[in-house]
Amino acid sequence: MPDDIPPAAPATGSTPSAGAPSGAAASTAPAAPSAPAALELRDISKAFGQVIALRSGTLRLESGSIHALIGENGAGKSTLVKIIAGLYQRDAGEFLLGGESVDFRSTAESKAAGIAVIYQEPTLFPDLSVTENIFMGRQPLKGLRRIDRAAMREQALGLFQRLGVRIHPDRPARGLSIADQQIIEIAKAISLDARVLVMDEPTAALSGVEVDRLFAVARALRDEGRALLFISHRFDEVFALCDTVTVMRDGAYIATQPIAETDTAKLVRQMVGRDVAELFPKQEAVIGDELLRVEGLTSPLFADVDLSVRSGEIVGLAGLVGAGRSEVVRAVFGVDRYDSGTVTVEGRALAPHDPTAAMRAGLALVPEDRRAQGLVLGTTVARNLTMAIRSKLTKAGILTRAAENQAARVWASRLEVKSSALDAEVGTFSGGNQQKVVLAKWLATNPKVLIVDEPTRGIDVGTKSEVHRLLSELAGQGLGILMISSELPEVLGMADRVIVMREGRVTAELSRADANPESVMSAATGAGAAA
């Protein structure tokens, strides 16, 4: 056990409130083991055909306590969650709720039993308003069983206030950023007022401020005596919020321990079986000519955005959720329209609203919403990996499966996509594994400028540092990289330059030397503007 791996939590806390690892745990002691647990799973197993997603899932949630569940991508965390929710039925094992054995056949049953679940991938009804989404199936009623819209809207506003977000309660869910979708799911779950609240990577798309708000809500629920399960790949969050932590690996239970008795290095070792640094140290690259220049880009969602990316440079685009960062890069890449402004790649103006032209010019965009935008769900991993390079794989205009598979094999192994067969449907992959496929798909295009929107959302430690290493290496080879990230340590660790956006405008541009949590956050929140 080498001592040179520091516990990363205090040093890299993306949440300003992230205190010493033991801080949160001290407030509540785990309940006495003799009392029945709020929820207990013993040796749960679950297979999908040949794929064994869970071998022995074991978990014990106590009331008045926040329990962390961590593990690599594909370790089986979400599968366990879906079994708790009644979405999947276990093949074997015991499932006790308040000491009594239960057997949920549907999500309605688990909900009725007092379990609320926030799933890893938001699943909203796109055409309903966000309020209707939150209260789907349990709308407040007034006389004659009519839906009480005013009350419903009022409650939704209350929830948003509690979570500290500004989302219009009447807007449709369609077009919400992935972070806002996640917030709606959180609002939905906490409004259920459940005894057990399960959160599968609720923070993956959120930035520091929203995470803090969520944590405040979670702590309040804990203090009311609820049992909470929290899944995250961010250790600082686990240490800041949770009281107990369970580690899983390859579908099996590894260990449960009080948070105060462990540290990042230990947890990582339990997760992957060896030592891994949480953040990859950035390599210095030679910064060369300007590759991408955006001038005066304006649309209803953002205004006067100027930015540039040079060869070898990693430019971080920081800001709060809803600052318009994703909207800007989508417009740059040509998937969204913009009203005015110019995009130039290597000195040549890019035709607006034409992703194909953008790709030809050497742009690549890894979008934020992998399931809706990054992947073509319903088709194979090979097709997805080669989707953006399919024209380059032809011989005399003919594209064969063999050519696709060959290219797919190269990229799947480069990013260590966990799949045995190339014709596996990408929709069945774990969240982090899907993210790898999207990254690989775009790296395969051999771009000059790579735009990545939350590239490590939902990715585990090992792979995350691998993604960082990859980005660093690509920059070293002369690529320009524009990276949106809501994770402050990632931005600060990786970026040569940080551009901060707030409410659709660029509010700061900071050199690597000037960028620190305070300067970035004050530009992002506007707090520093007055001071």
């Binding site: 999500t107 992957v272 809706a372």
Partner: protein, 345 residues
């Protein structure tokens, strides 16, 4: 640094990726196409052994002649339905093509020239559909129900209730003759060539991959640089063009140009495509299945007809088959998706 570099290999081993997760026989035998082809063979065997005259070569000739328009139009229709759209105006374009050829030859045009005009008009009719669907952004179901009436209306306006029946025999014999020494009508050559072209386009080109991607997820396709508008316009234009060809064939085969030729044929085309395993929701299906689907409809119809069963009953049987195929596909899909589905309530 080396520890982090190797860290991503979470389980340590480098992975060898197999091409397929399931063995060949399961992939082939459990596909929808295989089911349709098996059914086609079954019907053929039953017809051959049980139905008088079914075994006669002339049955095959008539079957192919009857089904030729459906087989032809089903090719572009398959691609359109895979993108999640539909074109219901194809039979009206056939009628328009037929009427144009009739009126132009009657005015003394050479058949070839009239045919060319019909092709161009068919192409334009398809382009109009495509532009309304993509640029204007209307649902294709609504657009093509509208143009179904519009194109048919123009066709009937051109010819009224007249029928023009005088066509040069060297052209009509192309539509009615057989490939020498075989019972196969000459149009089989056209069907095979176009089937190969469309098969290549759908299954072996980047364009075809785009077609599937659009049907599965238009958003993800757009983010991958698939040109959705262009793809759809091309497909609708191709449907118009092929429909015009089918209209000319229909005219020659019956030696009669009428504005109401081939009325209702669009439903047989859609039926063949769906029976062949293409999902009406887009994203799934393959051409071999569709060809088998069209031949299956034709084989059942001709077997029943030869067995002396009325055409009403034949329609009922075809309808039941179609409903069954959609229901079974739906159930299979549900079974598969039960595992993937994320809660919606």
């Amino acid at each position: 640094m080396s520890t982090t570099a190797s860290a991503a290999g979470s389980t340590g081993e480098t992975r060898a990726y197999r091409d397929y997760g399931r063995p060949l026989w399961r992939r082939v035998l459990l596909s929808r196409e295989a089911a349709v082809i098996a059914l086609l063979i079954l019907v053929w065997i039953v017809g051959y052994t049980q139905v008088p005259h079914f075994a006669a070569p002339i049955t095959l000739t008539f079957l192919l002649q009857d089904m030729a328009p459906v087989l032809l139009i089903a090719l572009p229709m398959t691609l359109i339905i895979i993108t999640g759209e539909i074109d219901l105006s194809v039979a009206s374009v056939m009628g328009l093509s037929s009427a144009l050829i009739g009126i132009l030859t009657q005015q003394g045009w050479a058949f070839g020239a009239a045919f060319l005009v019909a092709l161009i008009v068919g192409l334009v009719a398809g382009l109009v559909n495509g532009v309304l669907v993509t640029v204007v952004g209307l649902p294709s179901l609504a657009v093509t129900i509208g143009t179904l009436a519009l194109y048919r209306g123009i066709a009937q306006g051109l010819l009224g209730s007249k029928a023009i029946t005088d066509f040069p025999s060297e052209w009509t014999s192309l539509a009615t003759g057989n490939i020498p020494g075989t019972p196969l009508p000459i149009v089989t050559v056209l069907i095979v060539v176009l089937a190969l072209v469309f098969g290549l386009l759908l299954h072996f080109t980047p364009f075809g991959r785009g077609v599937y991607a659009i049907g599965l997820s238009a958003d993800a396709a757009a983010f991958s640089g698939v040109r959705i508008t262009r793809t759809k316009i091309i497909l609708f234009a191709l449907a118009g063009l092929v429909s015009a060809v089918a209209g000319a064939y229909y005219t020659l085969r019956f030696g009669s140009a009428r504005g109401d030729n081939a009325t209702g044929l669009e439903l047989s085309v859609v039926a063949a495509v769906l029976l062949g395993g293409v999902s009406i929701f887009g994203g799934r299906g393959a051409l071999p299945g569709v060809l088998a689907g069209a031949l299956l409809i034709g084989a059942i119809a001709s077997a029943l007809r030869l067995a002396g069963i009325t055409s009403d009953v034949i329609n009922v049987v075809t309808g039941v088959l179609l409903v069954l195929s959609v229901v079974i596909a739906g159930l299979l899909g549900k079974l598969r998706f039960r595992r993937l589905r994320i809660v919606k309530s």
